[in-house]
Symmetry: C2
Subunit: 201 residues, 2 copies
DNA sequence: TTAGTATGCAAGCAATTACTTGCACACGAC
DNA sequence: GTCGTGTGCAAGTAATTGCTTGCATACTAA
């Protein structure tokens, strides 16, 4: 099989899967969207199941989860930037995440493909919060584990549910900053600590 | 149509919808699960679409969202209890919420049925946080709006994603208490404030 | 040139599925 | 008794869908 053909099919399949889920994604539709004959799908991938799984493996995980500085300087600004970026990535994956969750019973591999991004994001902030603690921005006895869940949960829920209950969220433009600020406060970080450390450094 | 028959069908349809979504819920399966002939479905509800929508209207919204005291006394305990309760309700609706979100494009009414519970929960904590503020438990300039989103987001994400990425959450037993404690800290509530107010009252 | 490979096209098959029709049966109200 | 109502049952229809087969065509490497 030539590479471009295979890639056309995979990306078409991933897109349609996000829109219609497993059952709703017909092999005919994938073929048409990829500009390819339906028979070609089966020749290359063997079955619909295999095709969709391959498509998720190829397009289900975002390439880059947001970056956080190795040496924290301005936690509120840095965390806001990360939250904004992560929210954007989540938003672009929203429909695929939902479909993968809804197909979990019949096709357990799918949510696993999507979960990797979440795990990576969680590891990233947990490590960053650890750095904040080591650098003295937040108290030593802080629950960085729970705070990470809190922030990611807020971003996740925001992306998933804002569409159906907008009044339960801060205005979209302020949301990442709000979540970042509140999470930092939950971690024991406030203006006084920051000032103190800045003076010291 | 006799009431028991209708109710059997609706609850069977709601259950199967939660397990398999719209496309996966066949009228044959609903009829069999309800112990009723398939033709009866169409005689009563006219179409599959109408049947499922009715089922969601009847079983898609939880009867009681957790209660929060009108006069706050011990915020951490009260909020933990509420979070525990709400998490349980969310958990029982998990599959239906996911399917409703995944069917949103083709059937926009469905997520609306489910969203009502979320809106009510959000209103409940926001009001409670307002009471905490009025009672002096937390500073007057606190962002009760954002804190509500934060807490509900953590619970939502916990319920939706713990299954696929368990290491990104506190142990299930501690989770509601953790989220409640951190949210209160984000609100500016800590032991000192509580002690001070207790002495005063 | 030749052989192999990748793809297209036309057709079809078997299973599923939403929905219909026609008829029979039971039961309660009058 | 009888009449209307709610239900069951058997059968069927038209559309969709995953997947296959047979054959033709284009391109590439030896």
């Amino acid at each position: 099989m030539t590479a471009p053909t295979r890639e056309q099919i995979l990306s078409a399949a991933a897109r349609l899967y996000g829109e219609h889920g497993f059952r709703g994604t017909t092999t005919r539709a994938v073929a048409e969207a990829a500009g390819v004959n339906e028979v070609t799908l089966f020749r290359i991938f063997g079955s619909k199941e295999n095709l969709i799984v391959e498509a998720m493996r190829a397009h289900g995980v975002p390439v880059d989860v947001g970056t956080l500085p190795a040496e924290p300087d301005d936690p509120e600004r840095e965390l806001t930037a990360w939250a904004t970026q992560s929210r954007q990535v989540l938003l672009s994956m929203r429909s695929m995440i939902i479909q993968a969750m809804s197909d979990a019973e019949q096709h357990p591999e799918m949510p696993k493909c999507v979960a990797k991004g979440g795990e990576a994001a969680y590891e990233a902030i947990r490590a960053y919060f650890g750095r904040l603690r080591d650098a003295g921005f937040i108290p030593a006895d802080t629950d960085v584990h729970g705070a990470g869940s809190l922030l990611i949960g807020a971003l996740f829920h925001d992306v998933m549910s804002r569409g159906v209950m907008p009044q339960a969220f801060p205005p979209a433009a302020d949301a990442p900053a709000t979540y970042a600020r509140l999470t930092l406060r939950a971690l024991g970080f406030d203006a006084h600590v920051r000032k103190a450390r800045r003076r010291a450094s």
